[in-house]
Symmetry: C2
Subunit: 435 residues, 2 copies
Amino acid sequence: MALSKKPYKGSRDFFPSEMRIRDYLFSQMRKTAHSFAYEAYDGPLLEEVKLYKAKSGEELINEQIYDFTDRGERHVAIRPEMTPTLARMVASVHRQTAKPLRWYAIPNLMRYEKPQRGRVREHWQFNVDIFGAPPVLGEVEILSLIVHFFKNLKADQTMFSILVNDRKIVDAIFNELLQLKDDEAYKLYKVIDKAKKVDDAALDKMISDILADDKKSVFKNYLALSNHLELLEFLKSHKLSDQAQEFMKIMENCEQLGLLPYIQYDPTIVRGLDYYTGLVFEIFDLNPENRRAIAGGGAYASLMKIFDEPELPGIGFGLGDVTLKDFLETHKLLPDLAHASNDLFLCHTEDQELIATQKLALVLREQGLKVELNLGKMKFNKIFKTAESKGHQYVAIVEEKDGHVQVQIKNLPTREAKFFQLSDISEIQNFIKDK
Amino acid sequence: MALSKKPYKGSRDFFPSEMRIRDYLFSQMRKTAHSFAYEAYDGPLLEEVKLYKAKSGEELINEQIYDFTDRGERHVAIRPEMTPTLARMVASVHRQTAKPLRWYAIPNLMRYEKPQRGRVREHWQFNVDIFGAPPVLGEVEILSLIVHFFKNLKADQTMFSILVNDRKIVDAIFNELLQLKDDEAYKLYKVIDKAKKVDDAALDKMISDILADDKKSVFKNYLALSNHLELLEFLKSHKLSDQAQEFMKIMENCEQLGLLPYIQYDPTIVRGLDYYTGLVFEIFDLNPENRRAIAGGGAYASLMKIFDEPELPGIGFGLGDVTLKDFLETHKLLPDLAHASNDLFLCHTEDQELIATQKLALVLREQGLKVELNLGKMKFNKIFKTAESKGHQYVAIVEEKDGHVQVQIKNLPTREAKFFQLSDISEIQNFIKDK
C-alpha cells in the first residue's frame, strides 16, 4: 500500500507559499529583538524529563509532553516550552556574564494537544527574556519591545491590547485580604482563568463554591476593577497599596513613554499555575471574532534555584507562530507573499546561447542578484507569460542580435526594455535596481 | 539534588557567541539558495517510522533513529534526515506545480550516534534539491550552487573539492563488466566506501575476499582512475562508454562554466546504500588534517514510487552545520563574530534623564537602529570601557548641557564626538551610518 502524503497529525508541511509567511514572521521577530539588542540563543530539541518536572505544570508532564526513553536509558522529552532550557543555560553562565542578559529564540516546540484553530502539536514560539535588569526598567523594556513588534507588523491599539496584572497584588488579595488556604487559592486561580469564558451567573456559582458571602463580595469587587487607577483605590481602601508600588511605577513609566494606549490593567490575568512572581501579562487580540491570547509572559524571581545557583530575576514572554498568523490574517495585516522575491527571470531561446546564459546567471549571482535561470531554451512567446505567472518584474533574454550575443532586459510592469552586452554587469544591475 | 546544567548528550547549547556563528552559516546558506531562486520549505519534526523504513538504510532504522510510540499509538521518529519528508511533500504537490521545483531547507535532525569530532546527535543540515530539471542542466546547477556557496564563504579550490562519480557507470562496471551477483555487489560497495580509509594491502585483501583474480585486476584498474578522461578511456576499452554519456556531458558543461577546478572525478564515491541513480558526489575538505566529507548528494530517479506517484527525477545534497563549521575553522574562514552587531550603546548619567533616554531609544529603534539601552544611570567614567567591552563602535550619552538636555555621540575608534538635540534623529542616523 502506498504511504500517506499527509504530515504527522497536528504538525504542518511548510510548502514555499506557507514558508514565505513563516519567514516573514520570523524576520519581524528577529528585527524587533535586534532593535532592542537582544541576542539569539538556542538549546537542544531534547531535555531530560526531570528538568520539566522541576519547572513545568503537572498537566503538561502528564498529558502533553512527547517523552520517551532513549537508547541510553535516559528519560527525555521533546521540548514543550523553552523556559526550562533557558533557565538551565542561564544558570550555567550567568555568574560570569555582564547583566542584563538579553536573549531571544524562535524554537520549535511540541505538545500533544487536540488540534484546533490556533492550536497545533508542533509550533514555533518567539521567546524573549531579560535577566538581571533593575526593577521596573526591565518590565518596561519588555512591554515596549512588544508594542514595537506589533507596530512593526502594522497593528495598532484597536487591534491588540497587552492585559497586565501583578502576582504580588493577586497574592496580597488572596493571602492578606481573603486569607485563603492554599487549596482555596489554587481553585480560585482556576476560576479566574475561566472568568472571561463563562457568563456572570456561572462565574458567581463557581466563586460561591469556594468563598463565603462576605469574601465573595470583596472578590467580585476586585474582578470588577477596570483600570489600574481603580485598582490603586481598591488596594488603598484595604490598606494593601504597598504591594502595588512596583506595578504602579511600571504603569507610570509606560505612560511617560506613550505605551499606555496599548496596555490595560485586567484583574483576571494571573497565569496562576506558572512560575511568575511579579508582572504578568497576556497579549490579546481585540477582534470580537478572535478574542484570545496571542502571547503571555511575566516576571519571575526564582528560576535558578533548581540548579543550586544564586537567584537572578527575569522577565519574558512566549508568542506562538500560529496565533500570531491568525491575528495578522484576521486584521488583514499580512503583506502580499504570493510569489518568491527573485530579481530576474533569465532565459535563452536557442541552444547555442546556453553557455552564455549559464555564465551570465553565475556572474549576476556573484553580484548578489537572485536569478531564476530557465534551464534549457524557451520559446520567445512563452517567456513573458511564464515570468508573470512567477511574479517576476524583470525578464532577461539572451539572444543573438545583429550578429553577436546580447541580453534584452524587460521591466514587465512598465514594458520598458533595454539591450545590454553580456559584460555590462553594472549597467544591468542599475537597470534592475531602479525598481 | 540540583539539576544538571549540561545539555542532553550529543546536543548543543547555543549561547549567543555560538549562535552568532550558526546564524552566519545559516544566512550564507539562505543567501546562496536565494541567489539560485531556491525556495525555503520545512516539514514536521516527526514522521511515521514507516516512511523511513521505505526510504532509509537499515542501519539508520535499527541503530540511529529516535523512535517512540505517541499517545495515539502512532510509531513515530524525530526526523534523522530530510529527504523522506521532502519526497512526501513533493509527491503531494508535484502534479500541480510548474517544473523545475527548486527547494531548500535547514532542518534540525537527530541521530543516535556516538558523539565525536564532526558528529553529534542533533545537527542542522542545509538541504538543497531540484526536481524535474532537464538532464545534465539540473546536475550542473546543483554543482555550481555548491561552488558559489563555498566561494561566498571565501573558500577556494585549495581548500575543498567536489568529488564526483555516476551510479550508472558504477552499475555498468559491477553488472556488465564484473558481472557481480547482488550480494557481491553489496559487499563491494562497502569495500569502496572504505577504500580511502585503509592501506593498499588491506584494500587488496578485502577485494580478494570478493573477486577472483581476473576480475580483481580489472576492478583495481578502475579504482586507480584519477580523472574523468582516464575513466572515459577505461570505459571505451571495455565498450561501456555509452553509460557515461550523461556524466561526460555534465563534466563538459562544468568545464565550460569554469567549475572544473573545484570538481574531481573519484571512482570511490559511490554512496552505495543510498537511493541515488545517477550523479553522486561528496564535498571534501582538502586540509590534510581534516580530510573528510563535508556534504554528500546526487541524482535520484525514483523517490515518488512509495507514494504511488509518477516519477520525478531529482538532484540534491545535504550539508551539516558541524562539518561546515569545522571546515571553516580549519581554514580560518570564519569572520570575527566576537560581539553582537549593535549600532549604538545608549546611556544616561543622571536619574532625571531616564525618560528622555528611554524615549530616544524607542525613536531610534523605529528608524531601524539596533540600540542597546543601558537600564538605569551609569557613571560617566564607566561608559566607554563598558561600551568597548561589548564591541560597540558608537556610544550615546544623554546629559544636561548649558541648561538643556542633549545627546553626545562618540565614535570610539576615531574618538570623534558630536552633540545633538534629542529631536535631531536624522542627523544622529547620518553620523552613525558613516561607519
